[in-house]
């Protein structure tokens, strides 16, 4: 018996979530008295995984898997799990992993729990705590099947180093033509900008910014902090910002270390999407705005006055502290 993780990479480089997942897996493996095997797809140098407690890497190198393909990747993970006799399969909560996990679960006749936010509360019966009700509550879920698939929520565990000597093995699962029935025609990645999915800090603007022409100051604040930009739903509905920046219950969930909300009222649907962020800062002219009830730090005042001054001060702070 073993524990298998899918260590996600993009263009040959591991995503940060892969290291978080490995750290988490190491801890779960300890409590189960087993080892951690990672399966990678076209990941190039896999030695980095040994820093986070991975005992063995199954390396898949295959040109056909150059583009992400859910069915084919699920087939890879399924065969890796069978080869290792893995009873627990761990994935992260990226868009790709969420696409894969249910397919893996059906392939292995396994129960699946997504949005898992901590170590298992118990391993027999196997119980995990997961975000649910759009982050307004947690559900304790028991997985009753023999094989279990878990999706770990981003930034819910953290990255912890734990050196191990990792063995590597080339792995060539068999793929069939039907795996490639969904063909990638083109990929359009936002380049040169921090994206919400990767960001540790997000600066978000709401309708209080009055119009798209005022987003320069949000972008500048974000750039000083190395942050991604985001917005509330009406802002994307009005076309001031792209849909991909809309955060909330019906938009993207944001689980960052720092979330700065500028001119956002804090409607329940917006809060639902950002609740898992660790530290929330609110800048709003209305002292009664509901956002202040969930914020850690707040400034009551006009964004047009505060944001440029804050950006300037942060620039000075960064200059002194770098």
């Amino acid at each position: 018996m073993s524990l298998l993780i899918y260590a996600e990479s993009v263009e040959g480089k591991f995503k940060k979530v892969a290291f978080e997942l490995a750290s988490y897996a190491k801890k779960v493996a300890e409590s189960l008295g087993t080892s951690v095997t990672a399966v990678t797809v076209n990941a190039g140098d896999v030695s980095e995984l040994s820093k986070y407690g991975v005992d063995k890497v199954l390396k898949v190198t295959n040109d056909k898997l150059k583009n992400f393909n859910a069915k084919a990747y699920a087939d890879v993970i399924k065969q890796a799990a069978q080869k290792e006799n893995a009873k627990v399969i761990l994935l992260s909560s990226t868009t790709d992993s969420l696409y894969l996990a249910p397919i893996v679960a059906v392939g292995l006749d396994a129960g699946f729990a997504s949005n898992v936010v901590g170590l298992p509360l118990s391993t027999s019966p196997f119980q995990v705590k997961r975000n649910s009700f759009s982050n307004k509550a947690f559900t304790i879920t028991e997985i009753e099947s023999d094989v279990k698939v878990l999706g770990l929520a981003k930034n819910s565990y953290g990255v912890f180093e734990s050196a191990s000597s990792t063995s590597q093995e080339d792995f060539s699962p068999s793929l069939n033509d039907a795996d490639f029935n969904v063909k990638v025609e083109s990929v359009d990645r936002t380049t040169g900008k921090v994206t919400i999915a990767d960001a540790d800090i997000v600066v978000s603007g709401g309708r209080g910014l009055k119009g798209p022409e005022n987003w320069g100051m949000i972008e500048e604040l974000a750039s000083v902090l190395g942050a991604a930009t985001a917005c509330s739903k009406p802002v994307s509905d009005l076309g001031w910002r792209p849909h991909s920046e809309h955060v909330g219950q019906t938009g993207k969930p944001v689980a960052t270390n720092l979330y700065i909300a500028v001119g956002i009222s804090g409607a329940i649907q917006h809060i639902a999407g950002i609740n898992s962020s660790k530290v929330k800062v609110v800048i709003n002219s209305d002292a009664e705005a509901p956002f202040f009830k969930v914020a850690d730090y707040g400034v009551v005042g006009d964004a047009f006055d505060i944001v440029p001054r804050l950006t300037q001060k942060l620039k000075e702070f960064k200059a002194q502290n770098s």
């Binding site: 992400f68 249910p102 649910s132 009700f133 990638v184 990929v187 019906t250 720092l258």
Partner: protein, 248 residues
């Protein structure tokens, strides 16, 4: 083209979430139920196919009789008929099994789900359904065109989007973007009247195991009060973020 739209019946997005019976059950008291927002985008797209490409649209829900108003609303928006599988949805796998049975028996070309429902947020039914049917599957779908037996879809990826081509039968997990917010339909009087006469079939569930169960619920711990910083003292905010919160 025959389209099946899977509709999840969920608490309205403004609902306060509470639990009863020693935190083992969701408290439905005073909760309004709606069509899951992700499914509403899918339903609107299906109605577009109905109007532009003469598709026939069936909506389906796995749930008790209390979910029928939600299905009637989907009929009022324009679906041709509705199916309710008479079972309490307790696990994503169970729901996917029921939907797969309906899908197989109806020979649908396109099955539209929302990428996740906003109550349990499992995000598993569309992928499981596609796997059980051995159908092609596109998740986080933000655009879909169908021409004969071929489909072209755009899906959201982390930090961008991807265009894919595939063929029917196809299952998608849809979300905002599949149609514009402003194009979402609200039932009008005529729709509500005709919905009453449309067929709503109730089917008994097929045998299927649960693989997971929700044993208990918890609410997040109450938050401590916000620390307000004067707009004239932004250095203090930077100090707090650096030394206290340690996030910059």
């Amino acid at each position: 083209m025959k389209i099946l739209v899977c509709i999840s019946h969920v608490p309205d997005t403004t609902s306060k979430i509470n639990f009863v019976n020693g935190d083992t059950e969701f408290d439905t008291n005073g909760v309004q139920y709606v069509i899951n927002p992700n499914d509403e985008f899918g339903l609107t797209r299906a109605i577009w196919f109905q109007e532009q490409q003469s598709a026939n649209v069936t909506v389906v829900n796995v749930g008790g009789a209390d979910t029928e108003p939600t299905l009637r609303k989907a009929l009022a928006i324009g679906a041709n008929e509705a199916i309710r599988v008479n079972a309490t949805p307790t696990d994503g796998f169970f729901v996917a099994k029921q939907l797969a049975e309906v899908a197989k028996n109806g020979n649908y070309d396109l099955i539209i789900c929302g990428k996740e429902s906003l109550d349990y947020n499992g995000g598993m039914v569309p992928g499981m359904l596609a796997s059980l049917l051995d159908a092609n599957f596109v998740n986080s779908c933000i655009d879909l065109k169908v021409d004969g037996n071929s489909a072209k879809a755009i899906r959201e990826i982390d930090g961008g989007k991807e265009t894919v081509s595939t063929s029917l039968p196809l299952v998608i997990g849809g979300q905002k973007g599949l149609v514009e917010e402003k194009d979402l339909r609200i039932p009008n009087m005529r729709g509500i009247m005709t919905a009453r006469t449309k067929v709503l079939t109730v089917l008994e569930p097929v045998a299927a195991d649960n693989k997971t169960k929700s044993v208990k619920f918890e609410k997040p711990a109450p938050k401590s009060a916000v620390k307000l910083v004067s707009p004239d003292n932004l250095d203090e905010l930077i100090n707090l973020l650096h030394n206290e919160a340690k996030v910059i």
